[in-house]
């Protein structure tokens, strides 16, 4: 068993250590670092979805006062590696998607740069493009694996025979639309090229992962690139990998050595340059006995990727572990389109997959005449159905029961459309949540005892608004056995010891483990009363138990939905999430994460939809006026609680990660509640008022 920390600081609702700096505006975000003599970049973007540029006229732009340089494929510095086509910028005239970065203006002010960019004339030779995802395409293909490294397909037992023999069967298709991450801080990079060293003040979820990605692209040794990102205004996965804007800023910086080049995407540009969640078409078939016991589970997914780069969302992987059944099949098929490349968006895979899966379970409960909670409990597997390994701690049933008790589930009428209050139909719904406990390798921390009798804890971790500054300080304090005030944390810089990316809800697990290892090594080497200057570093150790256990977090989401009988307007007055995610390091920041995830799930359920016009290959509602994200007025009483527990197998903190599970299942709970309110089953997100009147 992993040697667990004794919890003193961890588990306490410490206020954010960076809170004061943030609310007083003194915490520098990427664009805000005070640098001497900055220049400003405005990009040139492709106006067609596929083809090539045949002529670029930059004369008028170059003649404009204040323009320092106009960069196009003709004069851009050369890049070194083309493995990642998203980052292979300005090296050819080819166009892969509408909005692709094809050049840049560098100028004395942002206004001049933008104005000059509008003066550049580009002629194109367009080729027919294809941007329409459909289930009946004849060119769907099976990817070698799905994100991050799962098998594309699984098949166990004989699902067809089991379905044919099932007493009760469900066969339905669910769709989720293209959705876009919209962190408050836009994707931003300030690049400086000086003395053969590239420095990026970047808005990123991983200083080291950006460095690792960009070094071969620019043909630089990793120690010739430095990424600085102490404060990041949200990411949700869209800042988890380097995107093209990082490269464009780096190229521009090479053209003006020594001068900082500032580049922030506009909100509109974030709709094609920063990744998105692929639309999905998911067919689910369930077979069960009259008692609701599953005999077959089939989850077949169709989704899209870009022709120039593959990203395969792992939409069906949660189905592989959720419920027991002797016969199970999952598959992923992709369409290659002339569109921007999809990427990570909060719980990629689980979020769309559990929408479909958990609505299907609700449908099965109806078909079997069972309470949806009872159906889930009946199919709770004793061990991981996929690997056969024991769970490190699966407490889905406890979450469902605790949630039912708190939410007043016993007051729910068994039949739909049974409650009507003043013209509003009222219903309740439930769905399960899950997310894997990932442990990414390679994080390292150093600890140094300073003259000021404080411990300087250094690791290149990221705080994207989640509370890393605070939570890691708490972990370090407990690992060192010292008060919070005796810890001075340094994060957000690739010059610090290597840290894995803030992704897969793994940050605190990995960075915390490295800090605990360093603290234990420090005490082992330097004892309880170190001399100033004492220092040691350690890597996150491999968890020997990771191979023995299936480690996943679970949760239960409950929603009350009101639907106006005349207009179909939808309100969600109440939501509750009950989560089992191992130890919670900081209840205050954790609650924000859970509630934030659930809010994003509500937003997905009711509002978010990127409308891609296949004629042009771009998102028409590319702004926050027409791509609505749930605001305060959309949110009623929303609460998140968790089981008081510790995962003894995951890591020294006993934590499993909390960043993503809050969104998983939230949309299904709302869709199930909308069904219970109205009797109308919505299988296509978002649930807009017209769908409830159709």
């Amino acid at each position: 068993m992993t040697r667990l920390l004794e919890p003193r600081a961890i588990g306490m609702p410490l206020e954010r250590l960076d809170g004061h700096a943030k609310v007083t505006g003194t915490a520098p975000y990427a664009f805000e670092h005070a640098l001497r003599d900055p220049l400003y970049l405005y990009p040139l973007e492709a106006a067609i979805a596929r083809g090539r540029m045949t002529a670029i006229d930059t004369a008028e732009a170059e003649a404009l006062a204040g323009v320092v340089a106009v960069m196009t494929p003709r004069n851009a510095p050369r890049l070194a590696a083309d493995d990642d086509q998203e980052l292979w910028l300005l090296q050819s005239e080819g166009i892969h998607f509408r909005g692709q970065l094809v050049g840049a203006v560098i100028a004395q002010t942002p206004e001049i740069a933008r104005h000059a960019a509008a003066l550049v004339r580009i002629a194109y030779e367009a080729e027919p493009h294809d941007a329409a995802l459909a289930a009946d395409r004849d060119d769907l293909y099976k990817p070698e694996q799905v994100n991050p490294d799962y098998a594309a397909d699984t098949d166990e037992g004989d699902v067809e025979a089991a379905l044919a023999a099932a007493d009760v069967a469900i066969d339905a298709t669910y769709t989720t639309p293209m959705e876009h991450n919209n962190p408050m801080e836009p994707h931003t990079t300030v690049a400086i090229w000086e003395g053969g060293v590239l420095t990026l003040y970047d808005s990123t979820q991983g200083a080291h992962s950006v460095r690792t990605t960009l070094a071969p692209v620019f043909g630089l040794a990793p120690d010739k690139i430095r990424i600085i990102a102490p404060y990041v205004g949200g990411g949700f996965g869209s800042k988890g990998t380097a995107h093209a804007h990082d490269v464009l800023a780096g190229l521009a910086a090479q053209m003006v050595p020594g001068r900082p080049v500032k580049f922030a995407l506009t909100r509109q540009q974030m709709f094609w340059l920063a990744g998105y969640r692929t639309p999905t078409i998911q067919r689910i078939r369930l077979g069960a006995g009259r008692d609701g016991r599953l005999t077959a589970i089939v989850h077949e997914v169709i989704e899209q990727t870009a022709r120039f780069k593959e990203f395969a969302e792992q939409t069906a992987t949660s189905t592989r572990i959720m419920y027991a059944s002797p016969n199970r099949r999952t598959s992923h098929r992709l369409a290659k389109l002339d569109v921007p490349v999809p990427s990570w968006m909060r719980a990629p895979g689980e979020t769309p997959g559990m929408f479909a899966g958990e609505v299907a379970m609700d449908e099965l409960a109806v078909a079997c005449g069972l309470d949806p909670i009872a159906l889930r409990i009946r199919n709770d597997p004793a061990a991981d159905p996929q690997s056969g390994k024991p769970w490190s701690g699966r407490k889905l049933v406890e979450c469902l029961r605790e949630g039912a008790r708190r939410f007043g589930w016993d007051r729910r009428a068994p039949n739909p459309a049974a409650r009507r209050e003043d013209g509003w139909l009222v219903g309740m719904g439930v769905a399960s949540s899950t997310y894997p406990a990932y442990a990414l390798p390679g994080s390292r921390a150093t600890i140094r005892y300073g003259e000021d009798q404080r411990y300087v804890v250094r690791i290149g971790a990221a705080d994207i608004g989640t509370g890393t500054w605070t939570a890691l300080t708490q972990i370090a304090a407990d690992a060192l056995g010292c008060p919070i005030e005796a810890v001075r944390l340094e994060i957000g810089d690739s010059a610090l010891p290597h840290a894995s990316v803030e992704g897969g809800s793994s940050g605190i697990n990995c960075w915390g483990s490295a800090i605990v290892a360093a603290a234990r090594a420090f005490r082992g080497q330097h004892g309880a009363a170190p001399v100033p200057g004492a220092e040691i570093g350690a890597e996150m150790p491999e968890d020997p138990e990771a191979q023995r256990f299936a480690m996943h977090s679970f949760g239960a989401q409950f929603a009350e939905v009101r639907v106006n009988a005349d207009t179909g307007e939808i309100r969600v007055p109440r939501m509750l999430g009950v989560f089992s995610a191992g130890r919670i390091i900081n209840p205050r920041t954790a609650r924000s994460q859970f509630i934030g995830g659930m809010t994003m799930g509500l937003s997905m359920a009711l509002h978010e939809e990127s409308v891609l016009d296949p004629r042009f290959g771009h998102v028409v509602n590319h702004d926050l006026a027409s791509y609505h994200i749930a605001a305060h007025a959309d949110i009623g009483d929303i609460d998140a609680v968790w089981l008081d527990e510790v995962d003894p197998h995951s890591n020294p903190m006993g934590s499993r990660g909390i960043g993503e599970i809050g969104i998983v299942g939230a949309a299904a709970a709302i869709a199930n509640a909308a069904w219970h309110a109205t009797g109308i089953r919505i299988r296509d997100l978002p649930i807009t008022p017209d769908k409830l009147l159709a």
Partner: protein, 293 residues
């Protein structure tokens, strides 16, 4: 500065503004700026000249002339909503203004700007249509008056020439004892209406409907008066069944379709809102006349 470069002009009189309009090519008038400024920032419009009307004092103000309310084009929406004459004689306007954007945008936004922008979902456009407003237009050849029905030419297209501007809107006041309702459904409060409905009605001494005006906003390219329903209601004894039948005429509306709202849904919501608005307006009219409901 976020918008593209332009030359800025700030005339102090209507004459000066009209002279600038006549002289300048590709000029835009800046009123409250609550639509134009975002459009400039997003580069949906690229004017060479901006003529700022905010310093022309003669363009602002509310005045009663007989049984008409004359509101200057540059009168702020907030000032209209708080004006005693408007509050006492035209509560429909106050109710409608509650749906216009947000407090901050109403502080700047003007009635003339809204009418000239002529967004199909704009509340003030629907109110003007419902009251049979007359628009005062000035240009190099002097002033002219245009009924609202002719002013709203088509989708975001007012019937004014490039060298003309709106100086004021004249709103005929309903009878002192009238009933009214302004209802709207939008994705978010302050957003463009999916459908908005304006109703003004009066009762005869017997409690029958003497006059009735119903206007749909947001449903079509320009505000749509529900003439068939109005005819059906005029002279009739009001009841829920009749209101339902009148509302059902919305099923014939050729409603706008967009990426997020299907036309049939607009029609269905229009029917619901008309029915609700008629009931509310009738209830208010009964109360205003001191009748027993």
């Amino acid at each position: 500065m976020k918008p593209p470069a332009f030359l800025y002009h700030d005339p102090r009189s209507i004459d000066e503004a009209v002279a600038l309009l006549a002289r300048l090519d590709n000029a835009r008038l800046l009123a409250g700026g609550q639509s134009l400024m975002p459009m400039l920032n997003m580069r949906y419009v690229l004017p060479d000249h901006i003529i700022d009307l905010n310093r022309i004092e003669a363009l602002a103000g509310v005045r009663q002339i007989g049984e008409t309310l004359r509101i200057g084009a540059m009168t702020r929406q907030r000032d209209i909503a708080e004006h005693p004459l408007v509050r006492s004689r035209l509560p429909l306007m106050v109710e409608a203004l509650g749906h216009v954007g947000h407090r901050q945008t109403r502080n700047r936004g003007t009635i003339g700007g809204s009418l000239c922008h002529l967004d199909p979902a704009a509340e003030l456009v629907a109110v003007a249509a419902n009251l049979d407003a007359t628009i005062e237009i000035v240009g190099p050849k002097g002033a002219r008056l245009l009924p609202m029905a002719e002013f709203a030419l088509g989708f975001m297209t007012p019937a004014i020439a490039p060298d003309e501007m709106v100086a004021a809107v004249n709103l005929p006041l309903p009878a002192a004892r009238h009933g009214y309702a302004f209802l709207e459904m939008a994705r978010r409060h302050g957003d463009f209406a999916i459908v908005a409905v304006a109703v003004v009605l009066t009762l005869d001494p017997a409690g029958r409907l003497a006059t009735c005006a119903i206007t749909l906003g947001g449903a079509a390219a320009v505000p749509r008066r529900m003439a068939e329903a109005e005819t059906m209601l005029r002279g009739a004894a009001p009841d829920a069944l009749l209101f339902g039948r009148a509302a059902a005429t919305a099923r014939a509306v050729d409603a706008l379709e967009d990426a997020q709202v299907p036309g049939w849904y607009r029609r269905q919501v229009a029917e619901t809102l008309i029915e609700r608005a008629l009931a509310t307006a009738h209830r208010r009219a009964v109360a205003a006349n001191g009748m027993a409901s």
